[in-house]
């Protein structure tokens, strides 16, 4: 985990090409260690998907990358600057090195192509010269890996259930033995039973194959359970980045706290839920200071005028509050009754 595979630094993204553009990502830096599961959390619309797409230049129009770098360090020691690669090299690197499972598997599979074809065509594109029969064998193997009988190869996407489709996508992501797998909310819209099946399969495969995972969701409880490290985003920035257990035990950023205080625990004593007051910010016109300040219970004058930087060594957070000041004080996982 000491040597990163993916290093994102200063990444900024706009939607729109003009002055009225939405600045969806601002100066985001993040690194992903080898073999690590990095959870990316944050409320809806804070830019999680944007980050995933921008890292591989897959943002649809009117997306525009306005700055930053995405460096990929391969196992062989080369370093690729993904944002500067020419088209064909980027094409070659995609999926081979970094695979993505997109939000909503329903739409990720071409509805008019057989699942098997969609699995083999990516192999054929990256491994030309290898006979088709080999690809087919591999595709069967992959489906087995995610628990789908190999005889579903000739099925069309609509003939599979949502969970099955999601697993096909995961199988596809692993087809070329990539080093990084980015998963954008792979389990929303699935019920908890299926969700758990998929997540557990993924963790097992990670252990087996040794790839790194970026796992995006706004379901914090799921992340805490499965991720090694969690980065929390708010309004296009990362506000906290720390190991999962530590974030849960001791959140530093008031937003993270609010997040953790918003979901009821399934087990254990009932506790009061704090929630986060106010509404999410408008990305097109953010306040000059800390974006969370208007909703923050601890905001003070400085927060309004100045923007806190992400800092703090191993446990990064972007807040002017002292690391164990008021936050610790309001930390009220206090049992009710």
């Amino acid at each position: 985990m000491n040597q990163p595979v993916l290093e994102i630094s200063g990444l900024s993204v706009d939607y729109g090409y003009h002055d009225d553009a939405v600045h969806a990502l601002r100066d985001v830096s993040l690194s992903l260690g080898r073999g690590e599961v990095l959870g990316l959390a944050g409320e809806s619309g804070c830019g999680k998907s944007t980050l995933a797409y921008a890292a591989t230049r897959l943002l649809p129009p009117p997306g525009l990358i306005t700055g930053g770098e995405v460096l990929f360090h391969s196992r062989t020691g080369e370093t690729l600057d993904l944002l500067r690669l020419p088209d064909d090299e980027l094409r070659a690197a995609r999926w081979d090195e970094i695979a993505i499972v997109f939000q909503g598997a329903m739409n990720s599979l071409n509805p008019v192509r057989r699942v098997g074809r969609q699995l083999t065509d990516v192999m054929a594109a990256h491994r030309p010269g290898v006979p088709m029969s080999v690809h087919k064998g591999r595709a069967r193997e992959l489906l087995g890996l995610v628990g789908i009988p190999a005889d579903r190869m000739p099925a069309y996407p609509h003939q599979l259930s949502g969970g099955q489709r999601q697993r096909v996508m995961i199988a596809m992501a692993l087809a070329l033995d990539p080093q990084v797998v980015i998963m954008d909310e792979p389990t929303t819209a699935l019920d908890v039973v299926t969700q758990r099946q998929i997540v557990e399969r993924l963790i097992a495969l990670r252990a087996e194959l040794g790839f790194s995972v970026v796992f995006i969701t706004h379901d914090v409880s799921l992340l805490i359970e499965m991720a090694d490290r969690i980065a929390v985003m708010y309004a296009g920035r990362i506000v906290e980045d720390a190991p999962a257990a530590e974030i849960y035990a001791e959140p530093r950023h008031p937003y993270t706290r609010g997040l953790l205080g918003s979901f009821p625990p399934l087990r254990g004593p009932r506790r009061a839920l704090s929630g986060i007051p106010g509404a999410p910010p408008d990305l097109a016109s953010l306040p000059p200071g800390c974006a969370f300040a208007p909703r923050c219970p601890h905001a003070f004058a400085r927060c309004e005028g100045e923007r806190p930087e992400l800092s703090g060594g191993r446990r990064l957070s972007a807040c002017f509050l002292p690391a164990d000041g008021p936050v610790a004080a309001v930390q009220g996982v206090a049992p009710v009754e």
Binding site: S12, H18, R57, L58, P60, L64, I65, G67
Partner: protein
């Protein structure tokens, strides 16, 4: 916050502004405006009485007759100007009739479902199956005199089937939308659901269908006038072409008699199509070519996001 606004479900008010902001649609609207103005002013700006004969027989464009004259010495520019009103009125009237019919049939079919749907779909299908132009010719000859209104009526009465099919499909999907169910659960009556919940959501499709029908009506009207089925006593561009053709203007080398009317039709059609682009792009935000100004150095592409580094971010 809403990253996925369902298509076609944007408020009309905002929609109109969006359509206007679209450059293609704006160009179309400007051309339409010019035609509308000419149609409204008509005789006022026509240099001559379009019917008046003169001794200048079949003369090419000149200072006196900007677009030349016919073989009986009538001024072609005046005919063109006088004909604009007929073309626009028939197009709009036919479009309106067909649109109303397609709404009535399509929305009802989509909304009631079951046997009523089958029957109405059948009706629409029969109208689709019977070829439009011959049907129009037949119906036009059913009536004693095929003047502008008649033609509009006939085109309107025969040209609604396509639109109704599309509206039916849309209504079917809208009917299942939660907000319709919600209105029902809230206790709204059926007719209110149809008129206040479903119809407003079809505005863009209806508008686009209306414009499509207007184009169809204009072309049909002109074709009918050209083959001499309809009355040639009211001036429209088709009548000009009819006279040009029956006097073999092209064979006589009198291009000025034949070409301008055709270009006007094409221009009007283009303008309408451009407006339709605007509506399409509004209904389907994916068709929008981001923003209204082109941006140098940025080529929006699916699959390869452009990178434009600003030194400061």
């Amino acid at each position: 916050m809403a990253t996925t606004t369902p298509t076609a479900l944007v408020t009309p008010r905002r929609g109109f502004r969006l359509v206007l902001r679209n450059r293609k649609a704006a160009a179309g609207l400007i051309i339409l405006g010019v035609f509308a103005l000419v149609a409204a002013l008509g005789e006022l700006i026509a240099p001559y009485d379009p019917d008046a004969l003169s001794p200048a027989l079949l003369e090419g464009p000149s200072g006196a007759h900007w677009l030349g004259t016919t073989n009986t010495g009538q001024d072609i520019l005046s005919q063109l100007i006088a004909g604009t009103r007929g073309v626009l009125l028939v197009g709009l009237l036919a479009g309106a009739i067909a649109t109303v019919l397609s709404i009535v049939v399509g929305v009802t079919a989509g909304f009631v479902g079951g046997a009523g749907d089958e029957a109405l779909s059948l009706l629409a299908n029969v109208f689709l199956v019977i070829p439009a132009l011959p049907l129009i010719i037949i119906v036009a000859s059913l009536l004693p005199s095929a003047g502008g209104t008649t033609v509009a009526l006939v085109i309107g009465l025969t040209g609604w089937a396509w639109g109704s099919r599309i509206l039916r499909a849309q209504t079917l999907s809208l009917r299942r939308r939660d907000f319709v169910q919600a209105a029902r659960a809230n206790g709204e009556s059926l007719w209110r659901i149809v008129f206040f919940e479903i119809l407003p959501n079809l505005t863009a499709i209806i508008a686009s269908g209306f414009i499509g029908t207007v184009i169809f009506a204009v072309l049909s009207q002109i074709t009918l006038a050209f083959i001499g089925v309809t009355s040639v006593s009211d001036w429209n561009w088709g009548t000009i072409l009819f006279w040009a053709q029956s006097n073999q203007a092209l064979a006589q080398g009198a291009w000025w008699w034949f070409v301008p009317a055709g270009l006007c039709i094409a221009l009007l059609g283009t303008a309408l199509t451009l407006v339709n682009f605007g509506i399409d792009e509004f209904v389907n935000p994916r068709l929008r070519t981001g923003g209204n100004r082109p941006v140098k150095g940025i080529r929006p592409r699916v699959g390869f996001t452009p990178v434009r580094r600003k030194e400061t971010s």
